[in-house]
Symmetry: C2
Subunit: 222 residues, 2 copies
């Protein structure tokens, strides 16, 4: 009985996610679900990426956290519309879900957005199980987290369209080999676009922005 | 109805946790629940700490991960009994629970253990809600994760008896101030023992080992 209930709930989520995705696509908005462990640098990467994107598209952001509005405040300083969802108001769940995102969409000026980032709650497990209506899933992995993470969190890596290895500037100070980490990612997900970036120094950020713009062109023209 | 069901389940967990903790204490075993985000260095810290502890006590380890037995294999090379729990066999939950730990205890030679580490699944949210039977909760935070984490994951920080700021050797390469991070931890948890450590260089590890030994003396003599 409990399993049945949970399956119904997951089905409700999937249906809401499909509605979110269809509404966004109909408006020409590509939604990107940004997922990572806590502290991998999702928000800092957004701060580095958004100014590059703004030369060509209009950006919006939904920020997800258990608590605080710190991240929405950070990205709002870039002049983009941003709303914060705190899961503390939804049972402190460790992930966003499609209903929360639908509520967030109602607070955004969708006519003024071409590319929407949805920054998920920092967690390498449960966000993989909940579709939000996104058209792309990007996984951020800080190189400091180690070479074993793709094997340990396989579902998250498996379902990502792109994997960004962030904080690559710290590689000289670690006992971690970036190339070996890339291989570990490929073993779990052979088709993801893998990029080595540093949100802090800017390395690789232009390539990531170009990849997003190209994917949006394909979505809108398709 | 669903809420009632979940409350019953949580109560079952709490009762099992109390049984685990009582059995361990009766045997003179102190159990430490190690919690952190993925890649904060829990296992590397264990590898640095266990040799220091082994001079005075016998150590055992329960390793928790969604998938792989990598970590149990790593700590077993130190000559300590270690069992791996994969939550992939329990619905891929993002945390250990008391029933999993009870199953793990049955596979360990408890007569030969004085101090048991329970390395939780990498996650800064849900592990805070599930008691395992531990006598201490230690939270590991990699300094690379940023100064905002105590405010963003308050329950985890609030319930820790000690907070270890790990990878402190990377501080010169980051835009993060260790002292300000300590302040952020204190704002959420004024009573936790806060230690700055580097599992890689060994800085602070002896202090952490001494703290554990002292806490065990208090538990066993109490």
């Amino acid at each position: 009985m409990r399993i049945q209930l949970d399956q119904d709930i997951l089905q409700d989520h999937d249906e809401q996610a499909a509605r979110n995705g269809a509404e966004l696509a109909a408006r020409g908005i590509m939604a990107v679900n940004l997922m990572s462990a806590p502290g991998s640098g999702k928000t800092t990467l957004l701060e580095a990426t958004i100014p590059l994107l703004q030369q060509q598209v209009r950006v919006g952001v939904i920020e997800g956290d258990v608590a605080t509005t710190l991240d929405a405040a950070r990205v709002a300083t870039l002049g983009v519309p941003a709303v914060q969802i705190n899961t503390a108001h939804f049972g402190s769940t460790c992930h966003l879900d499609a209903r929360m995102v639908a509520a967030g969409l109602q607070q955004l000026p969708l006519d003024d957005i071409d590319l929407l980032f949805i920054e998920n709650v920092g967690n390498l497990i449960c966000p993989a199980a909940f579709r939000l209506g996104e058209h792309l899933r990007a996984l951020i992995l800080s190189i400091t987290e180690g070479e074993d993470k793709p094997a340990k969190y396989p579902r998250m890596f498996h379902e990502a369209h792109s994997v960004l290895i962030n904080k690559i500037d710290l590689a000289p100070h670690l006992d971690i080999d970036p190339e070996r980490l890339v291989q570990r990612v490929k073993e779990v997900n052979p088709t993801a676009a893998i990029m080595q970036v540093s949100a802090r120094t800017g390395v690789g950020v232009a390539e990531w922005a170009q990849w997003l713009l190209e994917r949006r062109r394909l979505l809108v023209s398709g």
